[in-house]
């Protein structure tokens, strides 16, 4: 295992990554998350459970996802070789399925008969509705009313898969409000219901569990890059909303100091615009929300701000607690990407490689566009292309005036 100085040892028994994480939940939920933790500890070392995940990853998701050398993009940027870890080719179109399969098998083991989830862009909602269809469990997806509007294709997909989509009108009607409502449902239906959280945040053990399910991304990437280039890449990039694809990508590299790690936060209209961005680490401060302590967008009185991003998957006012820890320890560099930079990146990848990225992933690409040109031609930078952009075609079309 990892040594005492490893950055891969978290969380501790209290669910803390340094100052961050923990179990800040109402008493009604406390016995449930302790029970979940006990079941997860047992499942994690059960060969049957692990082989079922592996089998589904191969035959249902389509893993391993390819590591692709983006030749034209590399030429265009004129620096490091740019590689894409193609999570967008997974079944359901993003990395979200990795986590959903792990958790649905756990829910089955626990004898739960109903699934709830929150979703922002709808990628997690679609992945949840998908595994619920496959495992024949009823599911309810909470989605902010604003997001229901701007992510219509995903709403339709969820409905076709048999999920009930509940629009949440409280607050600004985005991901934070959807999560509040999911927690209210969970606290009401404790006996039957499993809450399938989509990102590496929330009360312990969710941040650890979701990271473990997503860490297949970085583990594969490391091996694939080794096979292709015979070494480690110089830099690895991922976008960060709650941060599940990012922690899944980074985790395998945390103890490899030669690999620079970059997380792209949603800079919205720019981080100097009050409440106009969703960059919780660059523009927020530590606080407690949704079961964990982490960096949050909040006003001076500790009231949570809504945040803004062009991407419905990134406009969450918090971030997973392990990212908060990695930010403080400076192992990962988190940088804001504006809406405009993300739109430019979206178009660049579409035109140079014929790959339409999700707006979330386009934030990561925008960071690559900043870093790659500063690196030597014999070096490599890898982006986790976490999702495909089919769901964003209409809203990007609107922004670009094509409709």
């Amino acid at each position: 295992m990892d040594g005492i100085n490893s950055l891969r040892n978290g969380p501790d028994e209290e669910g803390r990554f340094g100052l961050y994480g923990g179990r800040f939940v109402a008493e009604t939920l406390m016995p449930l998350i302790l029970d979940l933790e006990a079941h997860y500890r047992a499942a994690k070392v059960d060969p049957d459970y692990l082989s079922e995940i592996k089998d589904l990853a191969t035959h249902y998701t389509g893993r391993p996802s390819p590591l692709y050398f983006a030749e034209r993009l590399t030429k265009h940027l004129g620096g490091a070789k740019v590689w894409l870890k193609r999570e967008e080719l997974n079944h359901t179109g993003s990395h979200k399925i990795n986590n959903c399969l792990g958790q649905i098998l756990l829910a089955k083991r626990m004898g739960k008969t109903r699934i709830i989830a929150e979703t922002g862009a709808g990628q997690h909602g679609v992945a949840t509705a998908t595994v619920c269809a496959k495992f024949d469990l009823p599911c309810t997806i909470f989605m902010g009313a604003t997001d229901v509007e701007r992510q219509k294709p995903n709403v339709l997909r969820m409905k076709m898969l048999g999920a009930e989509v509940r629009p949440v009108t409280a607050g600004a009607g985005t991901l934070k409000d959807a999560m509040n409502e999911a927690l209210r449902d969970w606290v009401t239906n404790v006996d039957t219901t499993y809450y399938l959280i989509g990102t590496a945040a929330g009360p312990h053990p969710y941040p650890e569990m979701v990271r473990d399910f997503q860490s297949v991304i970085g583990t594969e990437l490391k091996q694939q890059f080794q096979e292709a280039e015979g070494r480690l890449p110089e830099a690895v990039v991922a976008c960060v909303g709650g941060g599940s694809n990012a922690i899944g990508t980074f985790y395998a590299f945390l103890d490899d100091p030669s690999v620079k790690l970059y997380g792209a936060e949603a800079g919205g209209h720019g981080i100097d615009t009050e409440n106009g961005h969703a960059a919780s680490m660059t523009g927020g401060r530590p606080g407690v929300l949704h079961g964990n302590r982490t960096y949050l967008l909040q006003d001076k009185d500790g009231q949570i701000l809504e945040g803004h991003s062009i991407s419905a998957g990134l406009d969450y006012p918090g971030v997973g607690p392990e990212h908060a820890f990695l930010h403080d320890s400076k192992r990962v560099t988190y940088a804001p990407i504006t809406d405009k930079e993300a739109l430019d990146a979206f178009q660049l990848l579409t035109r140079t490689e014929g790959i339409i990225p999700a707006l979330e992933s386009a934030h990561g690409l925008a960071q690559v566009m900043k870093v790659a040109p500063t690196m030597g031609k014999d070096t490599s930078i890898v982006l986790c292309l976490s999702g495909r952009g089919d769901k964003d075609v209409e809203s990007v079309g609107n922004y670009l005036g094509l409709l």
Binding site: G22, R23, V25, M30, N189, V190, Q298, G302
Partner: protein, 273 residues
């Protein structure tokens, strides 16, 4: 003896449960909310639970969510809540005040600074929904050291195995949440509530108050038979909401809350008659 202990002892001597009333600080504006607070003891409230508004009240139903939003829109802050308690204390030295809410505004204010200011203002207890015993080091233990009661919620999911841990650092009273759910939902079984209170009382000498889902004088009389206190909140916040015109208080606002508390107090008085 703390104000809270004293008040429960008085109610016990009077042969009735204590009436605990929850209102949202600053709803819909500071002056009206201050007037509501001051009207509560006269109407029959034994203990005031004063809601600290929060943007993301994850354990609350729609009524209290909206009350919090009105208070925040009216400019209420944690500092403002403490100021209201301070003003109240100038006129009322005896009615216990328990602040109820979520941890982040306190964490943002600074725990030590908050506890000093709360003690100074005359706050007697705290109920912080998102601080279970697993996070006692955060605020519970510092609050006890500062001489402020930390009142814990116990719920139908808190089983006998877990109950001792939940009760360990609890003081003042134990707040039994009558159901798994959010504030304002309906109680499924009154009989089950009575059994649960008996179960908790077999583990502690502290008074046990029951809340969530108590809406009428009849509920109060029924639930009050087996508990040391009953808590009403959602119906009072709803009463405020019903009197507003264009979101603003009217001359009916304070009276609506006062009359409802008086009505429920009548139920409390006949609980054990």
């Amino acid at each position: 003896m703390s104000r809270i202990e004293k008040r429960f002892a008085e109610c016990k001597a009077a042969g009735r449960p204590a009436l605990v009333t929850y209102v949202m600080a600053g709803d819909p504006d500071l002056a009206t909310s201050q007037a509501i607070m001051e009207a509560l003891p006269q109407a029959g409230s034994d203990i005031i639970e004063f809601g600290m508004p929060f943007s993301d009240p994850m354990a609350d139903g729609v009524a209290i969510q909206l009350g919090g939003q009105r208070a925040l829109a009216g400019g209420m802050t944690l500092r403002g809540v403490l100021g209201m308690v301070e003003d109240f204390r100038r006129k009322d030295e005896t009615t216990p005040i328990v602040l109820m809410g979520y941890y982040n505004p306190i964490y943002s204010f600074g725990v030590d600074r908050f506890l000093l200011a709360a003690k100074d203002a005359g706050v007697d207890g705290l109920i912080i929904v998102d601080l279970p015993p697993e996070e006692d080091e955060e605020l519970c233990i510092p609050a006890l050291a500062a001489g402020i009661n930390f009142i814990r919620l116990t719920t139908p999911t808190t089983d006998d195995r877990r109950l001792p841990a939940v009760l360990k650092n609890t003081s003042g009273f134990v707040y039994y949440v009558s159901m798994t759910g959010i504030t304002g939902a309906a109680i499924k079984s009154r009989a089950a509530v009575g059994e649960a209170v008996a179960r908790i009382k077999s583990h502690t000498d502290l008074p046990v108050a029951v809340g969530f889902g108590i809406k009428t004088a009849e509920d109060a009389a029924e639930i009050g038979k087996h508990s040391d206190g009953i808590v009403v909140g959602t119906v009072l916040v709803d009463a405020v909401a019903r009197t507003l015109v264009d979101g603003k208080a009217t001359d009916k606002t304070v009276a609506a809350v006062r009359d409802l508390v008086a009505d429920i107090f009548a139920g409390v008085k006949r609980a054990r008659a």
